[in-house]
Symmetry: C2
Subunit: 207 residues, 2 copies
Amino acid sequence: MIKKNIQRIIQYRMCLLRFQSLGFERIFSYTLAQEIGVSPEQVRKDFSQFHLRGNKKAGYLIQDILDQINDLLHKEDIHKIIMVGLGNIGQALIKYKGFANRNMQLVAGFDIDPAKLKKNCRIPTFSAKEIPVVVQKENVHIGIIAVPEAAAQEVCNNMVEAGIKGILNFAPVMLKTPPDVVVQNISVCGDLEALVYVTEKNKKQES
Amino acid sequence: MIKKNIQRIIQYRMCLLRFQSLGFERIFSYTLAQEIGVSPEQVRKDFSQFHLRGNKKAGYLIQDILDQINDLLHKEDIHKIIMVGLGNIGQALIKYKGFANRNMQLVAGFDIDPAKLKKNCRIPTFSAKEIPVVVQKENVHIGIIAVPEAAAQEVCNNMVEAGIKGILNFAPVMLKTPPDVVVQNISVCGDLEALVYVTEKNKKQES
DNA sequence: ATTAAATTGTTAATTTATAAACAAAAAGAT
DNA sequence: ATCTTTTTGTTTATAAATTAACAATTTAAT
Ligand SMILES: NC(=O)c1ccc[n+]([C@@H]2O[C@H](COP(=O)([O-])OP(=O)(O)OC[C@H]3O[C@@H](n4cnc5c(N)ncnc54)[C@H](O)[C@@H]3O)[C@@H](O)[C@H]2O)c1
Ligand SMILES: NC(=O)c1ccc[n+]([C@@H]2O[C@H](COP(=O)([O-])OP(=O)(O)OC[C@H]3O[C@@H](n4cnc5c(N)ncnc54)[C@H](O)[C@@H]3O)[C@@H](O)[C@H]2O)c1
C-alpha cells in the first residue's frame, strides 16, 4: 500500500550514507542503481519525482541529496515508537541498537503478562492497559504489534483509540483500521513460503 | 520481485484455514476479499490465474481450494530451513513455534561466535564454517540471514556456494546473488521509516 | 416452468510501475 | 573555440497490476 518509490528513497539514503562514510562526495545514478538492484533510469525517475537534482556529467552531490531526503523523511526529529508484546520478537527488537542511527526511538514496551514486565529492559515497560496514557503523554504516532495472532486486532484497536497512526504488524493477520491509520505487515512465514514457491518453480524450469 | 499474486495466494490460504476451523465449508470471493483487504474481483482474478475454480452462486469450496493451494505451495513436503546468525533476531526465530504449522522446519543454526553455539537451543547449532556440510547433507534450499550488515554479503556468498536457492534477509543491505537465487528482504527500520513518512504526510494533508 | 437474484470467471479498461529513448547540459579533449 | 563524451532529466513506450464490466450459470422463489 505504501508507494514503492518512497521505499526506494529510504534505500537510497542508506546507500548514500555508506558511500559518504567511504569518503565519496558524488555519486552517479548508475552506481546507486547497481547497489540497490534497480536500473539507473529508475533512480533518476525516483529522484525526479522527489525533485532531487544532480549535475549533468557530474552526478549527484551526496550531501545535497541526503539533506533533501532527510527533510522528506523528517529526519530532523526523533520518532518515538511503542511496542506491544514483549515475547520473542518484542525482546529482539528491544535489544536492537540500530534504531538510534535512523532517528527512531523505542520509548515504551507493553505486555499483559506481568512476568514480561519484570525483565530488566533498556526501555520502560508497562501493562497493556497503560497504552493510551503513555501514547498520549509521550505523543507517539507509531507502534509495533508483536503479540499472538489472537490478540492482534484487539491490541490494534487499542492503539488506534490511543492515537497511533502507523502500525508495524508482526502477527499473521490483516488488521482492520480506519483509513487514516496505515499498517505495514511483516510476514516472516509468508515470505518463506513465497521463497519455497519460487525456488521450487525455478527447480522445475531447469529440468 | 516475487509476484504479488502468489503472495496473496499465501494469504488466502491462511484465511481459508481460519474459516475452515470455524466450521465453514464454503466461502465467497467477497468474504475473502474483505478479510485480506482487497477487492472481490482481485480474489477471483487471482484464483482464475491459478485455475482455482468455484461454483456460481455457491462460492468456493474451502477444502477444494485449500487442496489446490497446498499443491501449488508444495505443502506435501516439510521444507527445511537454516539460519545464520544467532543473535537477537536469530534467537527469536529459533524460539518461534509457528513454523511447523506451515510445513517448515528450522533444521540448523550457525554463528561464528562460539558463545552463541552453547546456548541450549531447540535446534542443533554449528560453526558458520559448517554451512556447506549441513546444507548438502540435509539438502536444504532455504536460508535466513540474521547477521550484522557487515557480514551479510559474505554469509550470503557462502550460502549460495553451498546450494541455497532462496534467502530471507534481515540485514539492511541488498545482497548480490546469481539469477537463480531469490532474496526476500525484511526491513524493520525501513518499514518504520516508511510509516513515519506516510503518517506525517497524512497529518499535513488534514491540516 | 419461468423468473429473479446471486456469484463466478473472463474480457476490457484503467491505472500504476518500469524500461527505453533521447535531447540538453556540462566537462574535458583537441 | 569547437567537438566529443558523459550523465542527467524528461518524455515516450512497454509491461504489470488493479479495477470495472458483464455474460454465463446456478440456485431459489414464484
Ligand atoms: N518469533 C518469531 O520468529 C515469529 C515469526 C513469525 C511471526 N511471528 C509473529 O509475531 C508475533 C509475536 O511472536 P512471538 O514469537 O514474539 O510471540 P510470543 O508468544 O513469544 O510473545 C507474545 C507476547 O505478547 C503478549 N501478549 C499476549 N496478548 C497480549 C495483549 N492483549 N496485550 C499485550 N501483550 C500481549 C504475551 O504475553 C507475550 O509476551 C506473533 O503473532 C507471531 O505469530 C513471530
Ligand atoms: N534485532 C532487531 O530488532 C533488528 C531490527 C532490524 C534489523 N535487524 C538486522 O538483523 C540483523 C541481525 O540483528 P541482531 O539484532 O540479531 O544482531 P546481533 O548482533 O544480535 O546478532 C548477530 C549474530 O550474527 C553473528 N555473526 C556475525 N558475523 C557472522 C558470520 N560471518 N557468520 C555467522 N554469524 C555471524 C554474531 O556472532 C551474532 O550472534 C542485523 O543485520 C540487523 O541490522 C535487526
